[in-house]
């Protein structure tokens, strides 16, 4: 999973109707895992009601699709948890 910060929201009226259950967040990753990606931001589906400035854990791939109830959804990133605190070594 990826640790990142919510820096914005995407508002869309016309979208796949199966996506209406989830809010779309713009997340700035603190670090990428393989494959390394040079993107500054990613868009993730949120069902945990994360707010602006929250740190979140984002899950990528097929499990993210299941988050909204089906494996057939056009989704590849979903918020898995809202972070309270990070303890670095």
């Amino acid at each position: 999973m990826i640790l990142g910060r919510v820096v914005g929201f995407v508002w869309a009226t016309r979208k796949d109707e199966r996506l209406h259950a989830g809010k779309l967040l713009v997340v700035e990753p603190h670090g990428w895992y393989d494959p390394p990606q040079e993107l500054g931001h990613l868009v993730a589906v949120d069902t945990l009601d994360a707010g602006l400035g929250d740190d979140v854990v984002v899950c990528m791939g097929a499990p993210a699709r299941w988050r909204l109830g089906s494996v057939n959804l056009p989704v590849e990133a979903a918020v898995m948890a809202v972070v309270d605190r990070v303890e670095w070594a």
Binding site: I2, L48, A78
Partner: protein, 89 residues
């Protein structure tokens, strides 16, 4: 799988269903014995300590760590600690 040291812990209260009580750790990604600067968030079921060398499994392998398959597709996770490394030759 990737390998690297546990460098911290992520504390979360609001999590996706099915993941409550799961511990999340930060693992620094190592490649060719060098740290790459990339960081992975992984679910930890083996009680890894900070500084300990671990391997992280991705994809369905990660879900199998959390809930053995095949009916674990709805587990929202794409990375899990699978091995605590004792040593190598």
């Amino acid at each position: 799988m990737i390998r690297g040291p546990v460098i911290g812990e992520v504390w979360t209260t609001r999590k996706a269903p099915g993941l409550s009580g799961r511990k999340l750790v930060l693992v620094a990604v190592r490649a060719d014995s060098q740290l790459t600067g990339r960081v992975v968030v992984a679910i930890d079921t083996l009680d890894a300590r900070t500084g300990e060398e671990v391997t992280v499994s991705f994809g369905s392998g990660a879900r199998n760590v959390i809930a053995p398959g095949p009916d674990n597709r709805e587990v929202l996770a794409d990375a899990a600690v699978s091995v605590l490394v004792d040593g190598e030759e």
